[in-house]
């Protein structure tokens, strides 16, 4: 009897651990290929398409005035690709995860271009690394590109309007962009895999499963964004003026 109890207890513990780990892994590395039923895959493509189309429109408009803009967007795509491929150990969870990077691109180039950057980075990861997938590309673009970029941008601009300094505004924007991305991913996952079950219990379960990984990871993304803002301000303030993050009068003050 005792042996049976130990076996069941051990199995249960393992399953709970796997449950927590799996939800984190599934989203930390984007929603994997094949998880979403095709109706949901099509739905998220349709939702993301207008944002990508607007990003492309903005890219073409700006590129006509500035020939270096397309190479810059391509290079920032490479940066987001590398950042979101970089596994960072998360001590509390005992696992590794990665930041999104779209909060930063949203702040620097604006959210519409950042959606385009996320789309390109996610497409490359899906095709050549099996991170995410083609069928889940729409869902991943919406969570990482649209939600991450817009939330980071809005938080950063709002704080800057309230005269909060650059690193602190970057820190808050990085945190919110990361946490909002994972909340969005949780909602997409819950909607996609719930079957006949109700949405909210599963959504909250996935959200809770993320906490051990995403809480510190959000802080990491915040620190990273703050560090980046601080470095850009010290080394190349002219770029921040060009990106309309700083007014010309603020440089050197």
């Amino acid at each position: 009897m005792n042996k049976t109890l130990i076996t069941i207890g051990g199995t249960l513990t393992l399953l709970v651990f796997l449950h927590l780990l799996a939800a984190s892994e599934a989203c930390a590395m984007h929603i994997s290929e094949g998880i979403l039923p095709y109706q949901w895959a099509v739905f998220w493509y349709a939702v993301s398409a207008p944002f990508v189309a607007y990003g492309l429109h903005r890219l073409n408009v700006i590129s006509k005035e500035d020939l270096s803009f397309k190479p810059l967007v391509g290079l920032l795509t490479a940066v987001v690709f590398i950042i979101s491929c970089m596994p960072v150990p998360v001590p509390i969870a005992g696992t590794a995860s990665h930041p999104c990077g779209t909060g930063i691109s949203g702040i620097l180039l604006g959210p519409s271009i950042s959606v385009l950057i996320a789309s390109a980075a996610l497409l490359l990861q899906a095709l050549f690394l099996s991170h995410g997938g083609l069928s889940t590309l729409g869902a991943n673009i919406f969570s990482m590109g649209v939600i991450g970029s817009f939330s980071g941008f809005v938080v950063f601009r709002s704080l800057r309007t309230c005269r909060v300094n650059l690193p602190l505004a970057g820190f808050a924007a990085g945190i919110i962009a990361d946490w909002a991305t994972y909340a969005g991913t949780s909602a997409e996952l819950a909607a996609g895999i719930r079957g006949d079950a109700s949405f909210f219990p599963l959504f909250s379960r996935i959200l809770i499963a993320f906490i051990p990984t995403q809480l510190p990871l959000g802080l990491l993304e915040g620190v990273m964004t703050a560090g980046m803002m601080s470095l850009l301000y010290r080394k190349r303030p002219d770029l921040l003026v060009k990106m309309r993050i700083l007014e010309p009068g603020e440089v050197g003050s």
């Binding site: 998880i35 795509t77 490479a78 390109a120 069928s135 895999i193």
Partner: protein, 250 residues
Amino acid sequence: MHVFSDYSGKTHILTKGDARLKLLVAVSLLVMVLSHRGFVFALVVTGASLLLCVKMRAPVKVFVLRFSEPAFIALVLCLIKFLFFGRDALFTAHLLGFTISGYRDGLADGLLAAARIIGAVSVITVLGFATPFTELMSGLSWFRVPKGLIEVLMFAYRYIFMLLEDAMVIYYAQKNRLGYSNFRRGLTSFGILAGSLTLKAFEHSQNATVAMVQRGYDGHMPAMQHRPFKVSEVIATVFLIVVMGCIWEM
């Protein structure tokens, strides 16, 4: 990151095929895998894809790395569905006041979801192994994927390896100076690393633009040329899609 490199079996017949047709087959199979109600079709696709990977001599290490994450997700999703979703209980156990049940319908759903994940990943893996990047971009442009997105993808692909090299140099320099000796220092170092990469991206973009303008760049990449379709390849593609469609129908 080494899994990203061009590991396509260059001498294999599949690698020499038209990228547009390969994309068409891949997307068709993806739709079939995701829309099929049983898991047998996904397993057939997985088996065929694995066989192709072996024939293309895909390195085992790369192959395992690419499959480990989706396989793990598939396994756990299957377990979650088995234990938390369903009505038809297969077993029930009482432990410390908790009731744990495993459901027959949940297990069926879980197996279906797991098979779909592995099947879909297999298809994309074969596509990735069998198609060089530039040909894939050319194929996407033929399918009217917006030119702006293709250009961004081309620039990104060109600079990923260069920036990655820069990132590794900075990372090892930080590590040698105990930049990651504790969590707090690690955070600061990672922030500096990300900031340095962004600065390098700006610098590279300026230098690349100057170099390209000197060579006649006017804001647009030259249009990609598409070779005419080979009749034999088109027939093979249609045959493959029809055969898989028949299996899907069964």
